[in-house]
């Protein structure tokens, strides 16, 4: 059991980091999406997190608990992003907040549980299986790490979680897509990484960076 506790400030800071993150990676995600999709993955995430950035101060000033912060962020993404990413990331954050109502801090283990809830909701909404060449190929290997008891150290564990997701994203390169726009490409999707799997692990890395700070504080 880890003793690391994450307060609402941690989550507010993470969500504040999301817009600079998507701004920086937008072009990279667009390039991946142009190869097998319609080239707008980075743009739509930018549109969503711009809205989150715009409303984050209000959410913070209203002293929202962690559950409310996640639900609000999820609803803003759901409302602004559209496409597949909107419902998937929107559901992810909304459902991640469902078990922590009223809490202003959560233990690291509770946080892992929140992410597992989020991942489950992406599976339910997107109906994708492992190997379909979607963000699920990153999230499911990550979920396996979160469910394990070791490593005990939160930073080590979360690093392993992000690494597993990153490897999962890499694993989409040789796959034929079974969901989403790339599904229609057949064998021509082979050799290209799925942009959703890529943005998924990168987004979790934003959580990791702040987690390292929180753990060393």
């Amino acid at each position: 059991m880890s003793t690391l506790v994450l307060d609402r400030e941690y989550f507010i800071n993470v969500f504040r980091d999301m817009l600079p993150f998507v701004d920086k990676e937008s072009e990279h995600l667009q390039q991946l999406d142009s190869a097998i999709g319609d080239g707008d993955h980075g743009i739509n995430l930018t549109i969503g997190f711009r809205e989150v950035a715009k409303q984050l101060d209000t959410i913070n000033e209203n002293a929202a608990d962690i559950s409310t912060i996640f639900k609000k962020v999820g609803m803003l993404l759901l409302g602004k992003v559209g496409g597949s990413s909107g419902p998937l990331y929107g559901s992810f954050f909304m459902k991640a907040g469902k078990d922590v109502t009223g809490k202003n801090e959560v233990t690291f283990d509770e946080f892992c549980g929140m992410l597992l809830n989020g991942i489950e909701s992406i599976q339910l909404r997107g109906k994708a299986e492992l190997g379909d060449k979607t963000m699920i190929d990153a999230f499911l290997p990550g979920a396996e790490v979160l469910k394990q008891d070791s490593p005990e150290d939160p930073v080590e564990k979360f690093t392993a979680f992000v690494e597993a997701m990153k490897e999962g994203a890499e694993s989409t390169i040789p796959l034929i897509a079974k969901k989403g726009r790339a599904m229609r490409l057949g064998e021509r999707a082979i050799g290209h990484k799925d942009p959703g799997a890529e943005s998924a692990w990168m987004m979790m890395e934003v959580f990791l960076k702040r987690l390292k700070e929180a753990a060393s504080a």
Partner: protein, 330 residues
């Protein structure tokens, strides 16, 4: 970039402002949701609500197919991106007259998720919403139910809207849409990419002088790339794919759409239509009616698609139903 826009992230809002001002006799935006275009010609009669929608950048699709005896509302997404669930739901709330609503849109994963969530929200309030996803793009998958929807959308919209205007109930209106969808096949060719207004960049790369047979309306890769060939050869190839997939025989009647994708001159489109008509007439397939022009675009993409609808008396009656929408006679 050869686009005349302001902030690339504001293009949808500015498009809708211009479109509704230019066509204020026909349409308006919902007061509380500026991503829903509603018809001002709905009248007060009780009928099944017809709701269409999808990403922006395909104008005149989808917003222009709102009007009298056509769609009651169109839900608007970001460029090439499906709308979010809330406007899908708000459209239902705005146009439902107690007889339920029909959602119709091209078959894309994002649209399905968002419209489904909108339908779930409406169902929570006891409003019945049915869905028909359009699957006319022949080459997008071997399985018909996995195919995407392109310019053939408009025939499905019109058939269902006519059934609703005639006062039919939701199951029959849905059946009319399904029938029109099953009778409609399309295939396109792109001679260039298109420009995303937010980045000013092409959504994919294409060498000058190349074309891609079977490319999707969002630039999804098609069958293969090749050097641009004479119009007649390209038409013959596209029609070949369509007719191989579609059971159109000598004596059948068809509604033909030659659709420009935004950047192809009308001159070229008529040259294409001329060849389509020649080939069909050689095969004894009768052109009942035709449409030539930009009906569903991909912004500034140079290219076109051909759509053939196999007609019977019921579809003819539905597709002949009088409508009144901005700018387009259909």
């Amino acid at each position: 970039m050869k686009r005349l826009v302001n902030d690339g992230y504001e293009v949808v809002e500015e498009l809708l402002e211009g479109f509704t001002k230019a066509n204020s006799d026909y349409v308006e935006l919902l007061e509380h949701d500026k991503r829903v275009v509603v018809s001002k010609k709905r009248g007060d009669k009780s009928k099944v609500g017809i709701i269409i929608g999808g990403g922006s950048g395909h104008e005149p699709l989808f917003i222009n197919y709102v009007g009298e005896n056509f769609a009651d509302a169109s839900v608007v997404g970001n460029v090439n991106t499906s709308p979010s669930p809330e406007p899908c739901y708000n459209a239902v709330k705005a146009v439902d007259t107690g007889k339920g609503c029909l959602y119709m849109y091209g078959n894309y994963a994002g649209d399905v998720m968002n419209f489904d969530m909108g339908a779930e929200m409406a169902a929570d309030e006891g409003i019945q919403v049915e869905t028909v996803t359009i699957t006319d793009d022949v080459y997008s998958s071997e399985n018909i139910e996995d195919r995407r929807g392109v310019a053939g959308d408009i025939f499905v919209f019109k058939a269902a809207a006519a059934a609703a205007a005639k006062g039919l109930e939701l199951p029959e209106v849905k059946a009319a849409a399904e029938k029109a969808n099953a009778a409609t096949r399309s295939m396109g060719v792109a001679l260039s990419s298109c420009t995303l207004p937010a980045t000013g960049k092409n959504i994919f790369e294409m060498e000058e002088g190349d074309m891609e047979i079977g490319m999707g309306i969002h630039g999804e890769p098609g069958v293969r790339r090749d050097k641009i060939r004479p119009a007649d050869e390209v038409v013959d190839e596209l029609l070949g794919y369509i007719l191989e997939d579609h059971s159109l025989d000598s004596g059948d009647e068809t509604y033909v759409l030659v659709n420009g994708l935004g950047g192809l001159p009308l001159m070229d489109q008529y040259i294409v239509y001329r060849r389509v008509e020649q080939v069909l007439s050689e095969k004894g397939i009768k052109v009942y009616k035709n449409l030539v022009g930009n009906y569903a675009t991909s912004m500034d993409m140079v290219g076109m698609s051909i759509t053939l609808v196999k007609l019977d008396d019921e579809l003819k009656e539905l597709l002949d139903y009088p409508t009144d929408i901005p700018n387009i006679k259909f």
